[in-house]
């Protein structure tokens, strides 16, 4: 982990990390909730269908 992060840092991958995280936080909370809820519910549906099939 440490080595990977060091490499990433050296290569300036993480240079924008803080900016990216800040932007993420700023994103509309409602939108994130929508995506998460949608994903959870559809995943549950597929899991149920899979179990019924088996």
């Amino acid at each position: 982990m440490k080595k990977l992060l060091e490499i990433a840092y050296e290569k300036k991958i993480l240079k924008e990390k803080n900016k990216l995280i800040e932007k993420l936080i700023e994103k509309n909370k409602q939108e994130e909730k929508t995506i998460e809820t949608l994903k959870n519910e559809i995943a549950k549906l597929l899991i149920n269908i899979s179990q019924k099939r088996n």
Binding site: M1, L4, L5, I7, A8, K11, K12, I13, K17, L20, I21, K23, L24, E31, K33, T34, I35, E36, T37, L38, K39, N40, E41, I42, A43, K44, L45, L46, I47, N48, I49, S50, Q51, K52, R53, N54
Partner: protein, 386 residues
Amino acid sequence: MTENITNIINYEKLTGIGNSAKTHFWLEPGSIVSIELIEQLEKGVKVLINGKLFIAIIDEPIPLKEEILALVTNVKKLSLSLNFENQLYKNKKKLLEEIFIKLKIAPDNILFEILENIIKEKKPLIKTKIIQLFELIGQLNLESNSIQILLLIHLVWNNLANNNYAKDLITNLFQEPFEYVCEQVAETTKQILFTGIPQYIAKEITDKLIYNEDYNNTIALGNKTESIIKIIKTLSNYSETRNEIKNKKEINSFIEYGSKYVLQKIVLQQYDYYPDLILVKHNNDIAEINVEIKKHSTPNGTPTYKIKLQYKKEPLELKGLLKDYLLIGNISANINNSKEINEQIKNTEERLLRKIKIKTNITINNEVQNQNMQHLNYLVINKLVS
């Protein structure tokens, strides 16, 4: 030949151009023209269209002095569009061939697919950007139909591909596609659990990463970034405080791919991709569900989401489109007991309406083996997106 247009009263709002040039004499609807922005004026821009000078209103933020391709949508009242997506679904091969002729680039199958991706991402066809992208993909040796290509398109079009930033990002973080990283996270998770790990670590992993219907641990269905970071921390502490552990290789592998999973997701979300991996306890094994969610912005500001959840190792998937609080979805599966399944769908629809006020219309396509039907459904969804 130069044509100056001073009357701009009748200009179209979007990429509209003055109509006094009698363009129907030299342009055909559906043809592709080369445009170049010469100068920004107080109202409108000076633009060369196939070498003829116009003053136009262009709402898109297009750089000056760049060659850009546009589609002629109306010749009597000249209008051009920078969006080729509709045309792509009408006659893909013809459109892509014409674009390559216009760009003076010799195409091959890979470049065809990349150009198709650029159009689907709704990026303006700026010649220098396209050439830069093709060169980068060649240097990085990427597959044409991968998420790295989509990321690279955004980096190039957002001017982030200079100074080796894009190369470094792809080389160090995205050399392995997100889907492969997810496979490795799933695989190393199984290996760690099956190679004798202390109970407290096994519990943390199963609680946070593996959904079990009996426990309804929905944390494993949600955003797992935080969970994976915590598990990495736990595994690192465990690994560092012991001299010899038999599953060190598996632990290091999980740490490596877990870190890549987190970092790749952070970057991809910036470009409106929300891919994910869901692990599910399935009898005595762990099943995987791949999640692909892509947000598309529309001109009126209402976002559209294209959604795909796919059960790996089973012919079971849902493709859907969410627009204006309406989700239209289609499940492809071989299902015998459809009455029970229909009840499950109804329950899901009720929960989505109650929790996030989304109306839903989910249908089942039993003919999962029928490839033509799958292809047709996919096309319908693509059309809805456009």
